[in-house]
């Protein structure tokens, strides 16, 4: 039986691609993300050409899903009014996947890598790039629930551990903070209703290639990311705390995998 759900179950990336493409369209047409079309095209051009170049160099078969997912994440999260920054973001993201590796596995989530490098380099080179985490407004919380439900139904257990444990820990931290401060629960709920958090949870830290193989370490990894983010956000007032935390802690993943062997996740289809 060829039902739509079987297409989605066939490869978790199919689900990611459909969701991300819808976000890109909904965001730009209804939520006023206001991204420049030329910029979005530049992101995809950068990602697809880097993918083509490196697969050729490494003699691999070309996979269009990875640059598409990375391109969508970058177009949704990263803003610039210079189209060449889009090009640079796409190229940086995909190149990092091939160049910064440990034991044939890339270390950083490609989109996360490009975001952090471009944000940091801005301190030295003059160009414009930023993240607008507030742009989803109250729609985010609804999308969150839909995605959690979809993920629970569609994906294999291995892929669920990271996003679910992270979001549970993060929500626990936010609610505990509110209870400690005596704040109304509307505040942590509002803090959870954040588009950047949503993309981060479902499309970045869920990337099975850049997280520990061992299930318990996945939970530990989620916990450390949440704790570091909490510290950076509420003690250091860093607005893109989540992305910095993931970037910093991704470096530990090769060590986790070295010392705690477990079955490595392989994408089901190789299209």
């Amino acid at each position: 039986m060829n039902q739509p759900s079987s297409f989605l179950k066939q490869d978790p990336r199919n689900f990611q691609i459909i969701t991300l493409l819808s976000f890109l369209l909904i965001g730009n047409f209804f939520l006023g993300f206001d991204q420049d079309l030329l910029y979005i095209l530049a992101v995809f051009t950068g990602a697809f050409s880097a993918q083509a170049l490196f697969t050729k160099l490494y003699g691999l078969s070309y996979s269009w899903k990875s640059p598409l997912i990375t391109g969508c994440s970058l177009s949704i999260l990263l803003y610039s009014n210079q189209f060449y920054i889009g090009l640079a973001a796409g190229i940086l993201a995909i190149s990092s996947k091939f160049l910064i590796t440990s034991g044939k596995r890339h270390i950083f989530n490609p989109a996360n890598f490009a975001i952090i490098v471009l944000l940091l380099l801005q301190n030295f080179i003059n160009y414009s790039v930023w993240i607008s985490p507030g742009q989803w407004g109250r729609t985010a919380i609804l999308i969150f629930l839909i995605l959690m439900l979809a993920l629970a139904v569609l994906n294999s257990g291995t892929l669920k551990i990271m996003p679910f444990s992270f979001i549970l820990i993060w929500a626990t931290l936010l609610f505990s903070r509110a209870i400690y401060l005596g704040d109304p629960l509307a505040i942590p709920l509002h803090q959870l209703s954040n588009g950047a958090l949503l993309i981060f949870t479902f499309f970045m830290i869920s990337d099975p290639k850049t997280i520990p193989d061992h299930h318990l370490l996945k939970v530990l990894h989620a916990l450390t990311i949440a704790l570091l983010s909490y510290y950076l956000l509420f003690e250091q007032y860093l607005s893109n705390a989540l992305f910095y935390s993931l970037f910093l802690l991704s470096v530990l993943v090769p060590f986790y995998n070295h010392f705690f062997k477990a079955k490595h996740y392989v994408w089901k289809t190789n299209s």
Binding site: L31, G32, D34, Y79, N81, Q122, Y127, S128, V129, W130, S132, P133, G134, Q135, W136, G137, R138, Y180, L181, G182, D183, P184, A186, I187, H190, Q191, N194, Q236, Y237, S239
Partner: protein
Amino acid sequence: MSGKQILKFFLIACLFLPSSLFAFCGFYVSQADTKLFNKSSKVVIARNEDRTVITMANDYEGELKDFAIVIPVPVILKEKQIHVTKNSIIDHLDAYTAPRLVEYFDEDPCQPMRVYEFAAGSVRKAGPGGGARDSLAKKLGVTIEAEYLVGEYDILILSAKESNGLLTWLNQNNYKLPKGAEKILGSYIKQDTKFFVAKVNLEEQSKLGSEFLRPLQIAFESPNFMLPIRLGTLNANGNQDLFVFALSKKGRVETTNYRTVKIPSNMDIPLYVKDEFGDFYKDMFNTLTKKDRLSNVYLEYAWDMGWCDPCAADPLPDKDLRELGVFWLDKFTNEDVMPRPGRFRRPQGQNVYVTRLHLRYNAETFPEDLQFQETSNRENFQGRYVLRHPWKPDGSKKVCESGIKYLQNLEDRFEKEAQTLANLTNWDINTIRQKMSKKGQAKPELPEDADGKDWWEDLWS
């Protein structure tokens, strides 16, 4: 107003406002008496890296002895970190960044094109803008960290151990807080926030000879780029408007925990709106916030402070920017720069970028304080509405073919303008059409010789 010890807190960001006691500032169009947004407050934030200067405009009109404000601040402020400034500077900034109406005159379609543009007006704001106590404070866990007289204000910087004691102290000292304040104060105390409280020193105020209170300014360093609005949401009298004018070095400022949305802009609207631009903007904003269920922060203006086009008012001179806390400007004045009518450009980049944000908030839709970030986005944006005066044939000359086409298209154009206006403001479309037709924006009469003639009929005649 009664002589009871009712306390009034006007809150920008931070102050409490039983609003019936106030005549709020607003924006006005042309005439000073056309109040647009009542229950509004204005805050200017100049910030670069962690250094922050906040200016709070204050249009309090009640009895001065009843005036009181409470503002959460991140650190204990020294005397030199507190200042008062002139209302006129904020009025100037308000006028410079206000949504504007521009006018174009269609050219004779039978002649080559020329373009005129000038500002027809802007939504602008009018007008100028003891010992026993200490020991009691100690018992309540409240510490008076500092006490200053700055301008016409008596200022105390308080820290507290727990909200109940602070609330009791504030109430005993005539800072009567609205219901629900205790929890919010408690939350701020746990985050190690200090409290800046001020009242008017009547003696000093009388020396000034002015009935208006001047804006209070505070300068401090904090990595947290935020504006506390939670105490302000306690006001039972419904929604409040807040204008935030951010002066930054890199580029546009936006909220990170709420959506920042551009107001609808660059739209052609009927000519008669020139006479009711204030109502237009107010109703447009009402319609917009209602549709979005008061959940967004609106961007009304984002521009390099060096220039404007068209100008609703000239950019602020450097000395006024410095007064508002733009500490990164060099100490030189630019008053020798002559503005050209309608447009203005400074000879050099000023590294001052202004963002004007407008929000209508209440406790339900804005539960959290506003968190901001400065982005490197220097793309300019302005709330700009366009009046297009149609070309009219003068009757003495024959109308050319493209002239006839132009006239035939006018009816559609007028209808489109009417629809735009109705959508933006929720005004009745039929009333709009009637008013437009009174202004001459109705189906144009085609010249008699235009009927049914082909282009070649007069070719060899």
